[in-house]
Structures are given as structure tokens and as C-alpha cells.
Symmetry: D2
């Protein structure tokens, strides 16, 4: 398939590589030239404008946040120039409010729209083993399935309205942040009572909590290895803020998310904004006098 | 081995059966006669007093709470009459403060002491597939290992001071309660935005949260099947209270546990005290207007 | 003085009346005609556009929220047409971020800017007995002091940067919401233990908490009189949201505000959005089973 | 009247002085001799045992906590030897559970029982200007009213069951702790945005929050003067713990108290346990990076 990829940060570049490897015809665009040139060396065409990347069968956009989506996609007129029949696959973590707004914009401009945020860090993206959360019309989803198969190990269908994938993505990220906080509280609880947190980690990940979220974040927190960041703490706060805003709009209290919000703010106020978001664990440790 | 089993609730009876099945010589005692008679029919001897069950190589006590331990073990003089060399294995979820106090009492009376609370509900106990959290001196642990092997699928060693097993048990139960609350908040968040909570459940347990805690409690919460209780909500509150008290004594703030405490109290005030503790999820649903 | 008043809701109309009563020459503008006509009957001139009300010595704007300020003031070009030497007095509860942005806009357009939100409900505004929170340059403040004297019983100077008045206003509203929640929790605590909440109210407002916030909200909560709303609960949530956002931008965790946020969302999800914000107390009562 | 005073800490000694000043015949007892001797110098008789102080018309006990009440009053047999017609006035901050238990014990032993905790620090006690929270039978209250008049500026009647006074006392102390936290959060919020916390303090205590609680604690927090402690932070945690326990028994969630609990634990873990409880404000400051 002919596919555009817009936004070549670590995640977007990984996606593009997976698509090239799977034999698709890939056209890329990025604000700064470097990442696009790298991919050109691997067989991608480089588009001059975002709109030029909306000329094929599909365009995948992996932009940083709401502002970037507004500027690059809505501001750049890309949807107005989209090729007939093109499906726009939006893969960034954006607000539910913007996802809903984009549903209307796409309908108005008659461009098919699939929201497909992913679970997995850049190293997973590069291997094409992401989990893809996908929502949109059955037709549009079917059309881009070969692309989703190329970038992910599995696609999780979440409904026919694109924003539902964003709801799921925010909820999943919220659960990861809950995991970080839970491990931090229990490790502090263990350590101050003389129980080796490593033994406790072995126990829980060998029994009730034998799952990737615990096995990925537990060792980071135990080793206090928060740099370089795979996902920056200040972006973690952004995602919790988006979850709280979506909850507020839908009238759903989220007391755990509120605790997390305050802890992320605490962490940032104490210098950890650029560290990996697992550094939020430092808050529980510091509050227990384990600074 | 010759082993006494004291406390024949659902968990204790399951333990005793596993021990009999493994060929150990079991003497049982229970406040009410019924459960002891049942086990007599399966080959156990029935002791007249708790102290009479402290006559073999080991005695395992599975009592409901601190009060029962104080009354039956400390009040009954069992430790004074313990056979020379006997190891006392205490398997209930008790406070860390009492576990520490019992360390001193056992040392004073020269009775070996292992704390060995378990993870698993009664049906797991009956099959001998519990996870056993064990702490105590290496000698004492080695001596009772055949018994622990009979009741559990695996023993997790947590240190040489018995109370460390209780610290771990409270932390593990706290994590289960966190899981219940997290699922409740995210399911309410999904449902009110039109995302099928079942789809979200499939997503998370197929990816980052593919672990027993999520797979056991997710379906209960989705189906709202809270009766009959496997573990009563009011006992869930007791365990969180014990975790908070231990945290307070060790000077560890536990903000998630505080949220859980208030939610358990809310649930009880609204009639769910006798339901399964997964009914704590009703609080998040009710607060989101999904009563 | 010649003064424009823009935004004639209950608060704005009260301000305008106080200014007329004090002998100032008042020109009013409001989106809907009714309120302006009422004031015309009391001696005010009616402006055709917001910009026409920026023709005198000062213009006071009392608009509902950030969006209204953006639309009426920034969108309408009022600042571009402001009379030389005019001081713009902004009296609404807006975000700190917008207040900061307005500082820059006013500087760019060389219009003096005072931020002056008020404490007091409409009945207090009508009597000219508001407390005025004022921040801006000493010159600008001095110039409009006669106007502030007309609308308030006292002016509280908060610094030379206008946004500081908005910081103070959000903090003060946060404290009122804390008061509502505190009374709700303690009244529920009293009632369920057999202590008459009225006796407790008499005790605290006769001793340590003998202050208007407690004396205004205590009786409303005791009588459960939440309609008609003097200040709508959904606007209370808005103010807490603004406080949390300002706290986040300034890196200040606000755990009490987070509890309040969830309680306001709970109240709205359960039907109280249009009631007086003291109806947030229903949440504590419901959670205690006192529904 | 002939009155015994048991427990001569700062508060109890102040009470005894007020009673002597009012012309009552006072017999004192204290575990350590010093304070009793001081009062002997001012006209008090010294009792050899607590029971010896139960020989007059009334006995006022001002002991530190539940444990001291159990030991000195219940353990010492004082109630068994109480003079016929004597009224026992219990003035300490104890648990609601113990107050209820004492109701039964007094009824069994046929000793009249009034619970009368006070609001006010030792300097207020010395002047006889405490606020007295009193509950008990009308007869008993009437009988000891002259004594309560001597120690307090006003008596607040809270019902005919003694424990109701303890419910009110815990709720009042909870409100003071809420005040400390609220001032801490808003001062941090102000300071990090460039608003002088002193100006904000002037504003709120000049308007909506013009009450002793705010005027006593505001300046302490602004000046960060936490030593010497007038009321130790670790005792503040004790009172919040008692409030949470009473709330739990009565099935009342107390989310603000839960936040306070964690903050007190944080403060203690970071070295402030012996400081004045207003030092809990250091937590909000530290979490905002204002360490």
C-alpha cells in the first residue's frame, strides 16, 4: 500500500521502518529534516509538506500532542488535499475532546478516520511488535489492517467511533501510572520495615502480578534508573491530565488519577520532569523519609 | 510429620486436607466441633484443646485475626505446653505489631516461630496450590518445608524475622485492593464514554496487565457478581486498616491505601460489607452516576 | 468618573448600580439587551458595542469566564479603541494563564490594566459591600480607586502584576470549597454518631471558626437548601479546575483541591450541577449512607 | 466544691489553678511529684493515689490518652472507691470507643459521668478561658457547672451521652488540622506564583476567614515557627487517627482526614514529630519544591 507517515519521533520512525520492512510504499514528513533523511536512506520518499503525505491509500500521523495535531493536520490543510479513499490513521495520545472534534472534521471533509494509538515504547515500535488500539468504521479499519499488521503484533478493536481508542489509551496509561505508584508505595512500605523490596518484587511478579507492567517498571524503580527517559515524566503528567479532563467531561470521578496528578506535580517541582516517568516513585520514597 | 492444625475455617480446613493427602499425621482443633469432625472422617485426630495440638513436630494456626490469635494461642497457654523442638507456623493475616510481639513471646518461651500467611482463596487451599509467604529462622523454615510443600505450590522466603511475611502479605493484599479500584475507575471511565468495558478488559489482560489479579477480579466486576463472598469486603477493610497502621508505625505515607480505606467505608455504609470485596467497585460506579 | 461596565449578569449589574449611586457617569454594554435597558432606566448610557464602553476613564469588565473575555474583549477590538489613559479593570474569575496573557496584550497596546476580582455574592454586590482583590501598577490602581471604593467595602492590594489578584481569587474560592467539604464531613461524622450537627455548628462558629465562610455555608448545608443556586456547583468545579491548572503550571501539588475536584464531579454525575455549590456536601452525606 | 484533679500536665495544672482561684477545695494527683507540689504551694491538697482524689463532689481527670485513662482510672480502682454522689469529669482527648466503654463502666459502678474535653492551649487554660465541650446527664452537668464555669469562658452542651463531647472534640481538632493544611496549600500556591503569602493572609483573615483558627495558625506557618511545640505533631496524628477510627466505626468516609493522615506521617518521617503540629505545613511546601 501507499502510505504517508507524519511525525518521525522515536515512535513514528519505528512505525515507518516497520512499514518499509513489510514492503509498503512509504512517504514521510517531519518538521526537522534529519529523521526524514534517515528513512530516505532506507527506501522512503520524503514529502515536502504534510499534505503531500496524504496522497496515497493511507496516512499515519504520530504527532506529539493536541497542539501538534492542530497545527500540522488541521492548520496545514492536509485533509482538504487528501486523496480520494484515503484513510487517516491517527496514532498519537491526544485528548478525547480533540478526537471527538476530529471525527466531525473528517466527516465534514469526507475523509475516513481511524484512531490507532499504540502501547509500547520505541524499541517495541522498531520491532513492529506494538499493541495497536484501533477504533473507526469497519470499512476503514479493514482497509488499513495490513498497515496495522505491519506495525503491531496485534490489533485490539475498540469500536466504530475513533475517539474510543483514545479513551482506551488514556485509561491504559493511567493504569501504568497506577502501577508505578503502587510499586513505589509497597517498596517503601517493605523497605522501612526491613523487608527486602527485591524479595517482595519476586513474590508479586511470580504470583498475582506476573504481568509486563510490573516486570517492566519494578526493576526500574528498584534500581532507581530513571535516565535516560524512555517516556518523560512531564508527558506522564500530560496523560493523567488528559484522563482527568476526559473523566470530568464524562462525569467520572477518578480519585487514583487525582493522587497521581499531585505526585507528578510534586516530582516535577522537585526536579524530575525530564526523567523517566517511573521517577514518580521518588515521591513515595521521599515522603517516607527514604530520600 | 506430626502436625497440629488450629482454626478450621475454609482456609484452615483446606490446609488440613492437603496435609492429610500428603501423608502427614494431622491433629486438628477448632472452636466449633463440626469442621473438626469432618476432618476426623478423613483421618485427622481431634484435639481437646489448642494446647493439645501443640504436641507434634509443628503446629499450624490459621485463625481469623489478632483477637483470635491472642485468645487461642496466647490466652490458652499453648506455647507453654509446646513439645520440645516444635515449630509454630502462623498462617493468618495479622497485624505487623502482633507479629512482632509474637516474635518476643516465642523467643521467651523458646518455641520456634515461622510466619507463613498464604495467597489464594479457599478453593486454591483445598488443592494445595497456595503461594506461601514464609519468614523465620533458616532452621525453622527448613524443618517445616515439607509441610509448606504440602499446602502450597511454592514457598516464597521473605527473611529471617517472622513479621516480614506479614509485611509482605499486607502489601500484597493492598495491591489486590488497588487492582479492584483501578478496574472500577477505568471501567466507569470507559462505560460513560461509550467504550465497552469488556473490550477494555480484553485489551489490558491481553497486554500489559496479563496477570491473575486482573483476570480474577475483572470478570467479577464486569458481571457485578459479588455474592456469595469469597473474601468479605469488611475483611478487606480490616486488611487495609492493618496496612495503614503498619505504614504509620514505620512512617510510610500510603495515599492509595487512604483512598481505598474511604472507599471501603463508603461501600460498607451503603450496604456492601458482607459482599465480596470486589464490590468496592460499586463505589466508583455510583460516584460516576452509574448506580 | 466616566466608566464603562461590560457584562451585566447579577454581579455586573450590581457593580453598575453601585457606580451610578456613587455619582459616576456609567456606560453599559451586555450581550442581551434586557439588563442594559434596566440600567438605562437608572441613569446609565447604553453602548452599542463593547469597544464603545472603552471610551471613558475606565472600563470594568465582569464577564463569565475565559471564553467570554477572549470573545468580547480580545475578539471585539475593544483594547485597540480604548481611550488614551483609560484603565481596564477586569473583575471576572478567569484563569491565571489568561490573566498573564492579558498583561502582555495590554502592555503591547499600551492600555493600563488592573485585575480586580471580588469576594461576595450578588446581594453583596448590589449594596456596594464587596471585598475587592486588586493588583496592577500603583498608578493604575490609584486612578481607579474611587471606582473600587464605590463597589466595595474595602480594597485589598495584592501586588503590581494584575494576575496576582487572580491567584488570590482562585485560592480564596478554593478555601470556600474546602469549608463546604469540611462542614459536610464533620456533620456526617456527627450525625452518624448521634451528635446533633446543629450543636456542633453552634460550637465551632462560636469558637475557633467564628467567620463568615462557616456562618454562610453551615446553615445552607444543615438545611440542605441548595436551590435556587447563588453560585452554581458546575461553576465551583470550574474554579477548582482553574486552581489545579494554575497549581500545575506553578508546580504546586494541591491534594485538598484534588479531593474537591472528584467530589464536584461526583455531585454533577449525581444530578447537582445546577444546584448551589454547597450541594457538594451531598457527596459526603451519600457516601456515609445518609443519602 | 470539693474537687479532685488528676493529671497535672500543662493543661491539668492550668485547670487546677483556675479551680483554686475560684475558691474550690482542690485535691490533686499526678504520676510525678513535681507538678503536685507546685500546686500544693498554691493551696491544693496532694492525694496519695488517684482513688484518693475521688473523695469529694467531683473529680476532673486530664490524662494524656486512652492508655493513661485505662491505667490510672480503670486500673487503679478509683471508680470503685468514688464518694457517693461524686461526678467524674473526663477532660482528655480520648477515643470515642473508650468514651462509650466508660459510659458502661460508670453506669455499672453507679458513678455519674460527664465528658468535658476542652478547646484551647495551656496558656488559655491557665486564664480559665477555655471552651468546654460537655456531655452527660442533665443532673450531672448541673452539678459540675460551677467547676466548668471556673475553668472555661463558656460551656457548650452537646447531649446527654458523654461520648458525644468526644465526637465533637475529635471533629473540632480535625477542623484545625484542615486549617493548617489549607493555609499550607494556599500559601505555597501564592508564593510560587509571586503573590506574597502575607498579603493573602491579610485578605482572608480580613474577610471570609476572620476567625481564631486562621489567625492563630496563619502567622505560625508564615513565620515557620514550629518550636517549641504547643501541641506536638505526633499528637496531631493521634487525634486524626482517632477521628478516622471513629468514622470507620460509624461508617463515615473522611477523605480530608485521610489526606491529613498521610501528611502527618510524611512530616514525622521527615523529622517533624516533636515540632508543633502546624509544622505539617512543611509537607505542602516541600512537595511544591519550596523545601
Amino acid at each position: 500500500m501507499k502510505v504517508g507517515v507524519i511525525g518521525l519521533g522515536a515512535m513514528g520512525a519505528g512505525l515507518a521502518e516497520s512499514l518499509l520492512r513489510a514492503g509498503h510504499e512509504v512517504t514521510v514528513w517531519n518538521r526537522s529534516k534529519g529523521p526524514a533523511d534517515d528513512l530516505a536512506g532506507k527506501g522512503a520518499k520524503v514529502a515536502a509538506t504534510p499534505a503531500d503525505a496524504f496522497a496515497g491509500d493511507a496516512a499515519i500521523t504520530m504527532l506529539a500532542n493536541d497542539e501538534a495535531v492542530r497545527e500540522v493536520i488541521l492548520g496545514g490543510g492536509a485533509l482538504d488535499r487528501a486523496a480520494p479513499g484515503l484513510v487517516h490513521v491517527l496514532s498519537a495520545t491526544i485528548s478525547v475532546a480533540l478526537a471527538r472534534e476530529l471525527e466531525t472534521v473528517h466527516a465534514d471533509k469526507d475523509v475516513a478516520f481511524v484512531s490507532a494509538p499504540v502501547l509500547g515504547r520505541p524499541d517495541v515500535a522498531e520491532k513492529g511488535e506494538l499493541n495497536v488500539l484501533a477504533a473507526g468504521s469497519a470499512d476503514a479499519l479493514a482497509k488499513v489492517q495490513p498497515l496495522l499488521d505491519a506495525i503491531g503484533r496485534k490489533t485490539w478493536p475498540l469500536g466504530d467511533k475513533p475517539h474510543l481508542a483514545n479513551v482506551a489509551k488514556l485509561a491504559a496509561n493511567f493504569m501504568i501510572a497506577v502501577t508505578i505508584e503502587t510499586l513505589a508505595e509497597t517498596f517503601a512500605f517493605a523497605e522501612k520495615q526491613g523487608l527486602d523490596p527485591n524479595s517482595f518484587y519476586e513474590l508479586i511478579t511470580g504470583t498475582l502480578f506476573a504481568a509486563p507492567a510490573f516486570k517492566v517498571y519494578g526493576p526500574l524503580i528498584l534500581a532507581k534508573e530513571f535516565e535516560p527517559a524512555k517516556f518523560k515524566l512531564k508527558l506522564g503528567l500530560k496523560d493523567i491530565r488528559l484522563a482527568l479532563a476526559a473523566g470530568e467531561a464524562a462525569e467520572v470521578p477518578l480519585p487514583f488519577a487525582s493522587v497521581l496528578r499531585d505526585n507528578f506535580v510534586d516530582a516535577i517541582a522537585n526536579g524530575a520532569g525530564e526523567k523517566d516517568w517511573s521517577a514518580m516513585s521518588e515521591v513515595a520514597f521521599r515522603r517516607a523519609g527514604l530520600g
